[in-house]
Structures are given as structure tokens and as C-alpha cells.
Amino acid sequence: MTLLANILIDGIAYGMVLFIISVGLSVTLGLMRFVNLAHGAFAMTGGYLASWFIRAQDWPFAFGAVGAVVLTGLLGMAIEALVLRRLYRMPELQQVLFTIGLSFLFVASANLLAGPEVQLIPLPPWLKDPIDLGIRTLPAQRLLVVLTGLLVMMISVLIMKYSRFGIWLRATVDNTQAASALGIPVEWVYALTFGAGAALAGLGGILGAELLPLEPYYPIKYLVLVLVVVAVGGMGSVAGSMLAALVLGTIDTASKYLASDWGSLFYFLVMALLLAWRPQGLLSPGRT
């Protein structure tokens, strides 16, 4: 019984970390259909910026985190406007190559600017101590991730469903030309959406740093991890990404409790089975 509770608690907590680092990709890859393998690079940028603000500039944690997220979003918009928008019409393979190349450049730059070592984001006292759940304790930081994850999902679903921007975005993604003819500022929609994806990536980089430490190779190291979540979750479905992250997080945790010497075998096995069962993802909007 305790074992089951442990698996669920750790699984959900880990799954939420997976969700928070992949939700940005679920926007850029899932919604915009842009094969953005540079997602990890934006996540790392967010993390590094936050680390720099908080550690070197002595900003309070919340300020540093928000500042880093906003800056990462702006950087994403700038890169989108300068280069990425030329790639939307290219074949997927070209997008893959470009964004991998971009990731390499980020890796090399991080190495050049901050050296090869792990960058820490100092936690404020209110996040440091474990919180007692009754049957066991859970780090406060992990609770913050869970709450933020839920919040991000709610906000993004609300924006997609009810805001004018959400309607614009869906129209633009469905048919850019028609949307443009209807007077929707498609360039801005793309830039803002990509910026939002980058900002979310940055948020994930910051909040996930406790489990996925920030280092120059971050963009490449965790690429498969986030791709799996988005693919299993379903293209463009933020809720699907969350479901997938929770399922996969729980599976991974269960395999650590029960069969750790099989490595990540079960993780990938379950992923393959889920994909085989639902090739379009667990929750895939606009498809019947």
C-alpha cells in the first residue's frame, strides 16, 4: 500500500516535471507543426538566465524566474522573426537539421560563456524544506512544480478555447492564407506563439532544474525525453501532454521501485505501446 502510494506520489511529481519541461514543445511542435528540436536550447537559456539573475545578480527567486522566462520568450520571438519563419514551408527534415544545428550553437555558447559545469538556481527558503504529506514528505519545490503545471495547463486551455488569440491561432495553423485574408495578423500570431513556446520552455528549464540539472549539453541530453511526452500526448494538445507526462512519469517511477535493473526499458516499451495504440497521441484535438 505504501509502495503504491509512493509510486503515485513520486510518479505524479516526476510527471509534472516532465510536463513542465515539455509543454513549450507541445506548443511549437504540436500547435505550430514546427519540428523544434531547439526546444531544449530555450529551456536551457531560461535556466541559465535565472541562475545568473538569482545567483550573480542577487535577485529574489520569483523576480529572477519571471525575468528569465520573459527574456527567453523575447529571444524566441526574435529568432522566429529573423530566421525560423523561413523554415515553416521547408520539409520536416530541414527543420530537424536547422534546429539541431541551432541547439549545437547554444551548447557551444553555453560552454564558452559559463563553462562546462552545472549551473545551480538557488532556492529561496520557502522552497527548500520538505513538506509533510502525512504518509511521507515531499520537497516543497516539487509541489510548486505540480501547482505551476496545473496552472499552465488551465491557462493555455483557456487561451486556446476562449480568447481571440486562441481563435486566431487555430485559424492560422489550419490555413494561413485564409487566416491572412480574414485580416488576422498571421506573422504576429506565429511570432507570439513561438515566443510563448520559448517562454514555457524557459519556465520548464527553471522549474525542472532540480531534476534535470542545467549544463551545456542540456539541449541535447533531454531532447528524447520531451519528444516522447509530446508525441505520446498528441500534437497540439496541452492536456494530452499532461496526461502523457503523468502516465510516463508514473511508469518510470514504478520501474524504479520495482525493476530498476532493467534501465529505461519499460519506459520506452510503454511509450511504444501507447504510440502504437494511439499513433496520433492520447488526446489529439480536431481528429476523429
Binding site: V118, P213, K256
Partner: protein, 397 residues
Amino acid sequence: MKITHRWLRNAAISTLALMTSVALMAPDRAQAQVKVGIIAPFSGPFAHYGALFKAGAEAYLASQGGKLAGQSVEMIYRDEGGPNPAKARTTAQELVVNDKVDYIGGVVFSPNAFALAPVITESKTPFVIFNAATSDITTKSDYYLRTSYTLWQVTVPMAQHAAKKGLKKVVTAVMDYAPGVDAENAFKSEFTKQGGQVIESIRMPLATNDFAPFAQRIKASGAQAVYVFLPGGPPNLGFVKAYQENGLRQAGIEFLGTAETDEFDLQKFGDSALGLTTAFHYSAAHDSPANKAFAAAVAKQNKDAVTNYATVGAWDGMYLIHKMIEATGGKRDGDKAMAAAKTQKWDSPRGPVAMDPATRHITQNVYLRVVEKGPGNLLVNKEVQSFGQHGDHGLGK
């Protein structure tokens, strides 16, 4: 399908690239008397090893006035990348055949060290391993020397210490790869021999990001202590964090480690590392004139470099190469050099050390250390006890 001009162009470009590369690499360096090739990761997630090897080796060279036994020495650095034996072998082959190196040093990863066996045997090139820690590497060729450590070497005294302390039930938690399995076997066999009991052996996948489940398993096992082995870098931080956050310390489960509190990562642990005990062969806080000189020499070479097992492995490795050059008078004579190296005994920054002629592995003191606050509020591995001289206990197991 149809052959177009494209392939012709592609082929031409690649040919050109090859030729250019050859031109770029044409040796136009001043001819040194002795050449030493260092293979280490200079790119990729393990690049810090390369930097530390380089700092240690260059520092040693500088401490000898830039010459070893009166011979001018040229150091040639080659990238190891990650575990990639095929590439490592090619690199060694090029060092021997093209660059005509007299000695090879370095190598972080065991598979890469294994891959060099045919090359060094055939070319009779002494190869000093600065890190790769799987026990039986040195048995694969007579030209291997090792100035680092093996997991058996540091774990056996740790297991004896645990038993002596009265611990009866211990859990082992190791990373699921070759050195980890070595560590687990070493602890299990020695601790059982001493009358203790290993109640659970946890192998943690290399790709683990979240260590909380393992911390919970350790806690639930009812053990008095946990013996740990993790490779350097992020997993260390993750595991120690999980150890703290899941209340293992409060539960009184003692931490018995080896390389986890490595100086390269140590400061990042923050206060959570205080009180962790480890058994290891080198601490930057080792109090001896040799260690102080070593630290000063390294700092002079590279102010960012820390002194840890990688740096000291390279430093002592260069000492061995120095002695081999001395014995051969700078001539290329692998057998004579090996004969001299096998019997060396010297005062290393880690304490008194000697080469074991049978295994060609270093015999050294193993220390029990505790993480404490040192000068400048920095964390240090304080040596609290010496377990005395130990060789590699891992061979023949």
C-alpha cells in the same frame, strides 16, 4: 536515380576537404625529443575531465621546468568525446603511427581504455591510464599502467570500516554500469566476509533524473547505512539531494560513498553535503607539502581547475612518464620504460604511492573522509582516518 552532376560535386568537395585536412595537420611543429599523446574528453558532457587532465599534466611539466629528464617534451591532446571505443582506437592508432608518440596518457572511459590494448601491445607504447577504473583493463596488455584507482580498491576498506563500526545491515545503491557493478560486488563480498549483511542491492539506471524513488526504497529497506557509487556530475547532485529531501539523514541512514563528494562538484552540494562520509584515495584537503605544491602548480597553470582525482591522476601519470623517459634516456623503448615504471615508488600529492609490478596499478593510501566546512566557508573532504596502503582488490574476482 540517374547520376547527375551532384554526386560528382559532392565527391569533389569531400575529396577536397580530406586533402585540406591533411594539409592542415601536416606537422610543422618544432621537433621535440619526446612526444606524449593525451586522449581525454575535450568536448561533450565530460569535457571537464579533459580540462583537468590537461591542467594536471601541464602543471607537472611546468613544475619540472618544461623538460622531463632533460628532454624536451611535446604534449599532443586528442579528443576522446564520450564512450566510443572505435573512435578511441583510431585516435590511438593515429597518435602512434602519425604523431609517433612515445607515451600515451589519459582516457576517462573504460571501454575506450580496453579498445587501446591491441594498439599499445603491437607498438609497445606505454599507456598510463589517468582515470578509467574497471579492474581488469590492465590485464589486457602489458603496456597498461594506471595512476587512478579502482572501485575495489576504495570500496574494500570502506566495507571493512562499516563492519568495524558495527553496522550490520547495509543497502548498496550504484549506477547501473560497469564501475557501479564493480562497486556493488566489491562492497557485497567484503562486507559479507566481515559478517555484515547487504539487504538490498539497488542498481540505478544511467538515465535516471529523479532519484526520489531510490531514496524511498533505501528508507523502506530498514538499513542502517547506504553504500553508494555514482559517476561524477549531475547524478551526484541528484542523488545527494534526494538523500536529504527524503529524510534519509534524519532517519539515521548513514551515507557511505566513494567519489561522490568529488571536489569538482563539491561546492554545488551546499550544506546538504555536510557530514557525508566517503572512502577515497585523494582529497584536495590532504595535508602534505607535496599536495600544497601540487595545488599551487595547478593553480598557476589554470586558475579555474580544481585539484581532484582527475587532476592528481594526470599529475602522477606524468610523474611515471617522467621516470620512463629518465630510464630510456628519451629513446623509444617501451619494454625498458615499462620495466622502470613498474617498480616506481614516490611521494604523491595523495600520500605515499607505489606501482604494483604485477598489476601495474597504483598502490596507495585510502582515506576515510567527512565533508566539512573549511577555510573561506568552502566545503572540503576532511581526511579523518587512513585505512593504510591498498592495491587493487578487484583482480581475479
